[in-house]
Amino acid sequence: MIKKVHILFIFVATIFVSCSSSTSEEEEEIVVDNFDRGAMLTNIADNIIIPAYTDFSTKMTALKSAGETFTETPNQTNLENLRSSWLVAYKTWQYLEVFNFGKAEEIQYSFYMNVYPLTVLDVETNISNGSYDLTSVNNQDAQGFPAIDYLLYGVADSDVTIIEKYTTDENSEGYKNYLTDVLNQMTTLTEQVFIDWSSYRNEFVSSTSNTATSAVNILVNDYVYYYEKGLRANKFGIPAGVFSSTALPEKVEAYYSRIYSKELALEALVAVEALFKGNHYNSSTAGVGFDDYLIDIEREDISTSIINQIEVARTQINTLNSDFYEQINTNDIAILKAYDELQKVVVLLKVDMLQAFNISVDYVDADGD
C-alpha cells in the first residue's frame, strides 16, 4: 500500500508538471493533416494576395503619374484621365481591403486608404492652412480614395469649376499640393505593404496552427470581419439607415462621383467570393480556398449555401441604381433588401463556417467547461 501511495504521488506530480507546461508551448510547427492548410495559404498568398498587390501597386503608380500630369496641366482631358485611373485603382483596392494583417495591420493601411464618409471640413481646413500631417490618425478621414473622389468630383459643381479650383482659384496651389500629397501618401503606404509581402509571405504560408495569432485564424477572422463591416455595413447598411433612425445616403462609398457606389460594391463582392473559392486573382482558375476546407471537413452544405446566397445577394444588388445615394433617396426598400440578402451570408460565415472550422477566436480567453 505504501509503495502504491508513493507511485501515485509521483504519478500525480508528473502529470501536474507536464500539464501546466503544455499550455505555455508556443512553438509553431508546420502542420499537415487531412486538409493541407499550408496549401490553402500558399494559394491565397501566391495566387491572390501577391498578384493583387502587384496589380494594385502598378495602378497606384499610374494614378500618381496621372495626378502629376493633372497638377502640371489642369485641363478637362487630364482630369478625365485622372478620374479613370482613380476608378481603376479604387476597384482593385476592393480586393485588398480584406487583408488587414502583417504590415497592413501594423501601419493601419486601410484606414489611410478608404475611410468614408470623408470629413470635408478637415480636407478644406488642411488645404487652406497649407500645413497638415497626413500620417496623423486624425487625418484618416481626410485622405485616401474618398479624398481623391472629393477633389476630382466634389470641390465644385461642374467640371469647369472643378478645374478652376486647380487653376484660377486663389488657393489653387493648395488644392494641387493636397492632391499630390494624398496620392504620395497612398503610394508610399502601398509600396511599404507590397514590399513587405516578399518577406512576410513565407511566414504567412507556414503559420498553419490553430492559435489566435496564426495566419489561418487571422485570415478567416479578418475575412468574416471585412465581409460584415467593410462590405455589408459600410457599403450598404450604414447609408441605407439600418443602424440609424433615418437613412444616411451621404455615407455611400464614392459619394462625390455618385455613379460608382454600385460598381465598387459589386467588385468587392466578386473579391469576397473569389477568395472564398480560392480563385486566382483576376482569373477563373480555381485554387484551394475556404470552400475546399469546408468540403474536406464534410460541410459542403455550408459551402454551397454561401455560394448560392452570394449569388442571391448579387442578383438583388444588380437591380439597384448604379448610384446608391439616388437609390436610397428614391427607394430605400430595394437596398434594404440587398442588405438583408448580404446579411444572410454573414450568418453562414460567422455562425456556420466559423463553427465548422472551430477557429480559436482571439477575443474570448475565459475558461470553458
Binding site: 502529470i15 490553430n210 477575443y363 475565459a366 475558461d367
Partner: protein, 460 residues
C-alpha cells in the same frame, strides 16, 4: 433493505475530510489568484456596460473597484479554509463571496463554478477542521474520528457530477454522430504527436465519445470499490489531463483530480498529513500538538444533528432531481436550454449563434438595428447569441436604454440564427415577437422557434 439502512452515527477517521479541506482551500486560493492574474476581474466584471443576471438575482452586480476587495476576501477565506483557522467563519465567507461573484454575471457560468458553490455550501456543515487544523491548536483539542456521513456526502456530490455528466451524454448526437467531438478534435490538428493522425480520424471521435460516456457513468462506482480504486484514480488523472490539453478548462481538472482523493482510505490521508507535518517541522514550525487533548469521536449536538441531517438530505434530493427539471419543458433541451444549467451538462454541445436586435417605433414604423458591440463585450455577445434568457434580458436592457434616450413606442425584435452540433444554422427566435413585451419566468418561452433540423436529437 440493508442497503437502505444508513447509520448516521457510524464514525470514521477524520483525516480524509481534513486533507480534502486543505486541498480544496489551496485550489480555491490558486483559482482566485489565477483569475486575478489573467486580468479577468477587470475584463469580465469591470469593463462590461451591462451584466446578465440569473432570474431573481438582478440585484447582484459587480461593485466597481470594490469587486477586487470581494476577490481578496474570497481568496483569503480560501487560505483560512486550507489551514483550518476560524474554519466555520472562513467557509461561510468563502461560500458567500464566491457565490456572489458567480451571480454577478451569468455570462461566465461554468458547471465547475457551480460545483464549487455546492461543495463550499455543504462544507459549512461539516467538521472539516476536526483534525490537522490551526483551530485545533487554539481550542487545544483535536478529534480522531468524525461521523462517516460527513465524508460520504462529499463522495455522493462528486459521484453526482460524474454520473449525471454521463447520463447527459446518452443522446443520439453524442453517441451516434460523435458530436461535438467530431468538430472539436480535428481542430486540434496542431497538437504534438496526436494532432495529425488520431484527432482527424472518425473512429477516434466515436471512441472518445463512447469512452467518455462510459467513464462518466462508471467512475463513481470504480472509485467506491476498493479493488478498483487505484485503477479508477489513474483513469481520473488521464481523463482530466487529456481534457486539459484539449480544451481551455482552467483549474477544473486539477480540482477534480484532487477532490477524488477523498475516495481513498484514512491511511492514505494520514500519510499525506504526516508528510506535511514532517515538512513543516523541518522548517521549524513546531506545532504544540503535545498539549492537545485527543478526543475520540466528534459528535454533533443533538439539535444540530436533528437539523443538519434532514436539511442536507433534502439538499441531496434536490441535487438529484434538479437536473431532470428539463422534462417539464417542451421542445429540444439543447436548442431551448430550458433547464440546461446546474445539471452537469459539461462540454456537451457545440452551439453558436448570431443575434441582432431591431428597435422599432411602433407608431411610425421606423426602425434601426443595434450594434451589439456598443453594449456588450465580445464574450457576452457570443453567449447572448444562442441562449434565450440572455436574449430576452438584453432586449429589455435595450428597450430601457433607448426609452431613456427619448425614443417612444419602442418594440424590440430579434434577428437570430443558431447552429447546433454541425447542423446548418436556422432561425432561432420568432422575429415577429416584440421581446420588450415578454417577461422572464420559469415558464416555457414560446417565442423560441422549435428545433427544426431534420437531424433530431434524442436522449434520456
Amino acid at each position: 433493505m440493508k442497503f437502505l439502512k444508513y447509520n448516521f452515527k457510524e464514525q470514521t477517521n477524520a483525516a480524509p475530510l481534513a486533507v480534502f479541506r486543505l486541498f480544496f482551500g489551496l485550489m480555491m486560493f490558486a483559482s482566485i489568484v489565477r483569475f486575478w492574474a489573467n486580468g479577468w476581474i477587470e475584463k469580465l466584471y469591470l469593463e462590461p456596460k451591462m451584466f446578465f443576471s440569473y432570474y431573481g438575482f438582478s440585484w447582484i452586480k459587480p461593485i466597481g473597484n470594490y469587486t477586487y476587495l470581494l476577490f481578496v476576501i474570497c481568496g483569503l477565506s480560501a487560505l483560512f479554509i486550507a489551514v483550518g483557522y476560524k474554519y466555520r467563519l472562513a467557509i461561510i465567507t468563502f461560500f458567500l463571496s464566491f457565490t456572489y461573484i458567480e451571480l454577478m454575471d451569468k455570462t461566465t457560468y461554468l458547471n465547475h463554478y457551480y460545483f464549487i458553490t455546492i461543495i463550499s455550501f455543504v462544507l459549512i456543515f461539516l467538521p472539516a477542521n476536526a483534525t490537522f487544523s490551526i483551530d485545533n491548536l487554539f481550542k487545544k483539542k483535536k478529534y480522531i474520528n468524525i461521523p462517516k456521513w460527513t465524508i460520504d456526502i462529499i463522495k455522493i456530490l462528486l459521484g453526482i457530477v460524474y454520473f449525471y455528466a454521463g447520463l447527459a451524454k446518452l443522446n443520439s448526437d453524442w453517441l451516434f454522430r460523435a458530436m461535438p467531438l467530431k468538430i472539436w478534435l480535428p481542430s486540434k490538428y496542431d497538437l504534438p504527436l496526436i494532432g495529425n493522425n488520431f484527432m482527424q480520424q472518425e473512429w477516434f471521435h466515436f471512441a472518445m465519445s463512447w469512452s467518455g460516456m462510459l467513464y462518466d457513468l462508471s467512475i463513481p462506482f470504480l472509485l467506491l470499490y476498493k479493488r478498483t480504486r487505484i485503477f479508477a484514480f489513474v483513469l481520473v488523472v488521464i481523463f482530466h489531463v487529456f481534457t486539459r490539453v484539449l480544451f481551455p478548462i482552467g483549474m477544473f481538472p486539477f480540482i477534480m483530480i484532487v477532490s477524488t482523493l477523498i475516495f481513498f482510505d484514512a491511511k492514505f490521508h494520514q500519510k499525506i498529513i504526516d508528510f506535511i507535518k514532517n515538512f513543516l517541522s523541518k522548517l521549524s514550525f513546531r506545532a504544540q500538538s503535545r498539549n492537545l487533548k485527543l478526543i475520540n469521536n466528534y459528535n454533533f449536538s443533538t439539535n444540530k444533528r436533528k437539523l443538519f441531517i434532514p436539511f442536507l438530505s433534502l439538499f441531496l434530493i434536490i441535487q438529484l432531481v434538479l437536473p431532470f427539471r428539463y422534462l417539464l419543458y417542451p421542445g429540444e433541451l439543447f436548442w431551448t436550454e430550458e433547464g440546461y444549467r446546474f445539471s452537469w451538462r459539461v462540454m456537451l454541445m457545440e452551439k453558436a449563434g448570431m443575434t441582432n436586435f431591431k428597435v422599432v417605433d411602433t407608431k411610425t414604423g421606423r426602425f434601426f438595428m443595434v450594434d451589439n458591440k456598443d453594449f456588450l463585450t465580445t464574450f457576452q455577445e457570443k453567449q447572448m447569441s444562442f441562449q434565450p434568457d440572455f436574449i430576452l434580458e438584453y432586449a429589455h436592457f435595450l428597450g430601457d436604454h433607448f426609452k431613456s434616450q427619448g425614443h417612444k413606442n419602442i418594440a424590440i425584435f430579434a434577428e437570430s440564427y443558431v447552429a447546433l452540433n454541425g447542423r446548418l444554422s436556422t432561425r432561432y427566435i420568432d422575429s415577429k415577437v416584440d421581446l420588450y413585451q415578454q417577461k422572464e419566468s420559469f415558464k416555457h418561452k414560446d417565442w423560441i422557434i422549435p428545433f427544426s433540423s431534420n437531424i433530431k436529437i434524442t436522449g434520456l
